[in-house]
Structures are given as C-alpha cells and as structure tokens.
C-alpha cells in the first residue's frame, strides 16, 4: 500500500521533471541545468512563470479528477462512474460558459472560476439534499443524469445564441479543456476547493472499503451510509467544480486512473483513492506534455487528448464488464 503510493509519487515527480524540460522545441535538459547553474536568467522565468503553473495545474486537476472518480466508483459500486455522472462537471462547465457569454469573465478575471464553482456547488447542493431523502444509489445517479442533460441543453442554448464567431470559439475552447496559460493566481483560487473536497473524500476511505459488500451488509457492520453518501457527493462537487474552473472539461481521467491502479491495491475501493489521485496527476502531466511536444499548427487541447486516450479504455472496461456475471 505505502509502496504503491511511493512508486506512484516517484513516477509523478519524474513526469513533472520531464514536463519541465518539455517545450515547443522538444525536451531540453539544458534549461534545467542552466537554471541550476544560474547561467541564464530567462531559464528561471520560463520554468517558474510558464511551465511550473501549467504542470501544477495539470497535476491538481488530474489528482482531483482521479480521486473523485475513485470515490464515486466506490460509492456507486460501478467502475464506470466518474465526476461527470452526477452532472457536476456539466454544471461547472455551464457556470463557466455563462460568465463567458455575459462578458463577466472579460470584465473580471475571477468571474469564470467563481462561475464554475458556483455551478458545481449548486448541483452538489441539489444532489446532497436528494441524497438525504433517497437511500438507493440508482436514484441519485438518475438525478445526476437528469441534471447533466439539463446543463447540456443550457450549454447548447448558449452556443446557439453566441453573439459572434469569436465568442463562439471562446466558448467551444472552454469545453475542450486545457491548462495552457494558467497562472499561480488561478491555481490559488481553485486549489483550496480541491483540497477541501479531497479531505472530505479521504475521510470516507474506510467506509468506502466496507461498502464493497453492499449497502445493507455495510450498514449492518456499522456504516452510516447517508453520511458517507453526502460526504462523497459534496467532496466530489467541490473538487470537480474547482478543477473545471481551472482547466475546463477534461473527461475520462476519473475513470481511467482508478482502473489502472485498482489491481495494485487488491481492488480495495478505499485503498484506491490516493493511488488514483497520484495516477490521475501523472496522466494529465504526461498528456499535457504530449500536447506541447506534438507539432500541430493549431494548439492541441488537453481535454481532447485525454478523451482520445480515455474513451477507448472506457469502452474496453464496459465491454469486459458485459462479459462477466454481474448482479
């Protein structure tokens, strides 16, 4: 368990170091040695003002999404669950695009992050109040699907009425997902929400392990199911909302990261949380590095790469799951 986390943390560090060397002209270790030797003042600017915020943003978003995915999968006892399933991502994206559409984001730079967190917070509150009244997990998922569709419809409406092609491309860009040009200030505004969400999820570690034996048996062994349900929903809302605020919609990390690490921790859902966060962070750092290294005319978006890599794995899990007996 500790060994798994240590290995994943080492991988994360390695990926971050590689990403620090990665630029428009390939990998250049010289930049790091220049900065260490103090030979080139520009090296420090490139490293700390441009690449570090981007790497930290990718790591934070990846960790938040990986953790949320693992938490939701443990709660729903379904390996295909992800932050998107409860409609939190969609609502956060809607909140962000609303601030873009009404020009608030242009007038006040913090409007967009606050809009995304507001959207996620609203849906989270709705889900949490529903969670108090409904005991079954299927009901909660259906509510999430409904909210997700509603947010999607509102998004389509906004795109439909976008005032000009320029603002339309602005809106579309947001839905693609990226960590380019993020500042430490952007990170500072969103990181506390991610941290709060992560802490909430991690307090439910043991309860989520117990939930593997089903709701009724887990309750019989002393699980307060409603408390766990609410903590996971609120924690997911906070962390996902903040990550959408920072990077837009980045899908599938929440499904793939837990799936990759699960066999290493004996498939224990509680023990999957931390490794899934570490793996999610590493995956997004690597994906963002690819985005920067691949020679494309138009900037390739992180969300697109994540989806292209993640969606086939999602399908693979779904197909394999269809073959095994499941009740």
């Amino acid at each position: 368990m500790i060994r798994v986390n240590a290995i994943l943390a080492a991988l994360l560090l390695l990926a971050a170091m590689l990403a620090a060397m990665a630029g428009a002209h390939g990998l250049s270790p010289a930049l790091l040695t220049d900065w260490l030797g103090g030979r080139d003042p520009a090296a420090a600017i490139i490293l700390f003002d441009i690449r570090l915020p981007r790497i930290l943003a990718a790591a934070a978003v990846g960790a938040a999404l990986g953790l949320c995915g693992a938490g939701l999968q443990a709660l729903t006892r379904n390996p295909l669950a992800e932050p998107g399933i409860l409609g939190v991502s969609a609502a956060a994206t809607l909140g962000a695009t609303l601030t873009l559409y009404f020009g608030l984001a242009a007038a006040w730079s913090w409007a967009l992050p606050l809009g995304a967190i507001g959207g996620a917070g609203l849906v989270t509150a709705l889900l949490a109040s529903a969670a108090v009244r409904t005991r079954g997990m299927a009901t909660l998922i259906l509510i999430g699907v409904g909210l997700s569709s509603l947010a999607g419809a509102a998004m389509a409406l906004i795109l439909n009425f976008a005032p000009n092609p320029f603002s339309l491309s602005d809106l579309v860009n947001w839905t693609l997902g990226s960590v380019a040009n993020r500042s430490l200030a952007d990170l500072g505004l969103t990181a506390p929400f991610m941290a709060a969400g992560a802490v909430l999820l991690l307090t439910q570690r043991r309860s989520l392990s117990l939930l593997a034996i089903g709701e009724e048996a887990a309750s019989a062994h002393g699980l307060d199911f409603r408390r766990t349900q609410i903590a996971v929903v609120v924690g997911t809302g906070l962390a996902t909302g903040a990550s959408v605020a920072l990077a837009g919609a980045v899908g599938f990390v929440g499904i793939v990261a837990p799936h990759v690490v699960r066999p290493w921790v004996g498939h224990d859902p509680g023990r999957t949380l931390v490794p899934a966060a570490l793996a999610g962070a590493t995956m997004l750092i690597v994906a963002d590095m690819l985005v920067r290294l691949l020679p494309t005319d138009t900037e390739l978006r992180l969300g697109v790469v994540a989806a292209l890599a993640g969606a086939p794995i999602f399908l693979l899990i779904a197909l394999r799951r269809g073959n095994v007996r499941h009740d």
């Binding site: 006892r77 043991r206 392990s209 117990l210 939930l211 593997a212 034996i213 089903g214 009724e216 048996a217 887990a218 309750s219 019989a220 062994h221 002393g222 699980l223 307060d224 699960r262 004996g266 498939h267 224990d268 859902p269 095994v324 009740d327």
Partner: protein, 257 residues
C-alpha cells in the same frame, strides 16, 4: 450481558405485532413460509429501517438511538444475499467484519482472517479473490465476516440456504458451539430438520405474524410444522425427546380444516 428485546413490531403489510427476545447463550431459529415476515423481522431487530410501530431495545435502549458503530459492536447481522462489488481478497472481505472496532482492527483482521474462515471450513480460500468463489463459498465467507465481528449477538438470515447438506450441518454445529460459548444467535432457516436438531427455541411465523413459539421437542415441532406449512411430518426422536430425523410429506387431503 447484551440483550435484544422487541415488542409490538409492525411494518405495513410485512410484519404485524411481533414480540421477540434474544439473550446471550441461546440459539433461536425462526421458521415460516416465504413472505411470512422473517427477514423483515430480522432487519428491524438489526436496527436496519424503522418499524411503523413497536420498538427494538438493545440493553434497554431504543436501537434507533445507537451510533451505527456502537450498535454494530453488539449485534452482527448477515443479510440474506451475500454480495461483493469488487474482486477483493477473501481475507480482506472477512476483515471488514472488524469495521466497527476501528481501522487498526480491520488491518489486523486481514491477518487473523484464517481463524474465522476455519470456523466455516474455508481456510484454504483466504488468498483467493472473491470473484472466483461459488455462491455457496461466498455465503460461507460472508458468514465468516459476521463471525469476525465477535459480537455478543448474531442475527443470520438464511446462512445455510446456498450450502450442501454437509456444510449446512457444519455451520449449525458451529452456531451451536458459539451459542454454548455465550453468543446469542437468532437464525432464519427453511430446513425444519436443522431447526429441530439444533434450536433451543423455534419461532414459527405465518402471514406476517409470529404465531407460535416452541422448543425443539418432537411433538411440538410436528404439530407446528403441520399447522404452519400445511404439510405432514414424520419424526424419529431419540430417548431424550429431541428430533433425530424429520421427513416432510405432502399434507394428507383428508386433513380437516
């Protein structure tokens, strides 16, 4: 001394006015036709869900007022259907039975799982993945998990339903030994043979009600079985009056109503 006592338990359409008491050291068997309210009764006794009326008291205190973990340290309840959502190791599943005692106990439980698995004859399965188990094996591992809680009281909903005849007898023998060691055990069974051979008391349920309570004395078992299941039973009893074998036959049409 942990004692469970219920009075006037009622749950619309499923359970009517049920009184129940379970004390340490006794093995109580609950029998009755499908849908007669056995599982509903046991669920309420375990503090799962709320009755429409009536109360369940654990050591004199209303069970609904207990912190879930405090309750789970006194009563272990095994639901009818064993399930596991992820292919976790058998030993890890058994260790989850220690949840109410804290995280360190769950970790230690994974190492000690062998003793509880041994009780259900499944020690060799400890390192297997739960995904590879048969239905009967999974039921036995779930029972080992309930044993792992080491609670004063144990409520088991049909723990023998998926088991072969030999395993059924082994499980009942273990339950009897545990009750003689001081645990209070209530168990739902469909096999009248097992009920008659192992029970200290038998509760007979029909149409959402507890209609009779008897000892496992041959005469009492024969009379109640005939009345409640509308079957006739042929019983061979030993010199002590306890049932040795019990055969169920279709009710004779000549029986007068």
């Amino acid at each position: 001394m942990t004692e469970l006592a219920a009075t006037g338990l009622t749950l619309a359409g499923r359970l009517a006015d049920a009184d129940f008491r379970l004390s340490p050291g006794e093995l109580v068997v609950i029998v009755g036709p499908n849908g007669s309210g056995k599982s509903s009764l046991m669920r309420l006794l375990a503090g799962q869900g709320h009755p429409d009326s009536g109360s369940v008291r654990l050591d004199g205190n209303e069970i609904a007022g207990f912190d879930p973990r405090a309750r789970a340290r006194r009563i272990a309840y095994l639901p009818q259907r064993a399930e596991v959502a992820w292919p976790i190791a058998v030993a890890d599943m058994v260790a989850l039975g220690r949840f109410a005692f804290g995280g360190a106990e769950v970790t230690r439980g994974a190492g000690d799982a062998g003793q509880w698995l041994d009780e259900v004859g499944c020690a060799p399965l400890a390192r297997r993945s739960t995904a590879t188990l048969s239905g009967g094996e999974l039921a036995l591992v779930a029972l080992a998990r309930a044993f792992a809680a080491e609670t004063p009281l144990l409520l088991l909903d049909e723990p023998t339903a998926a088991l072969d005849p030999r395993r059924q007898i082994d499980v009942m023998t273990r339950l009897l030994a545990r009750s003689r060691a001081g645990q209070g055990i209530a168990v739902i069974l469909h096999d009248l043979n097992l009920a008659a051979q192992f029970a200290d008391r038998i509760l007979w349920m029909r149409d959402t009600r507890i209609v009779a309570e008897s000892t496992s004395d041959a005469v009492a078992v024969a009379a109640n079985a005939a009345a409640i299941f509308e079957v006739s039973v042929r019983i061979e009893s030993g010199s002590d009056g306890r049932v040795q074998t019990l055969a169920v036959q279709q009710d004779r049409p000549s029986r007068s109503e």
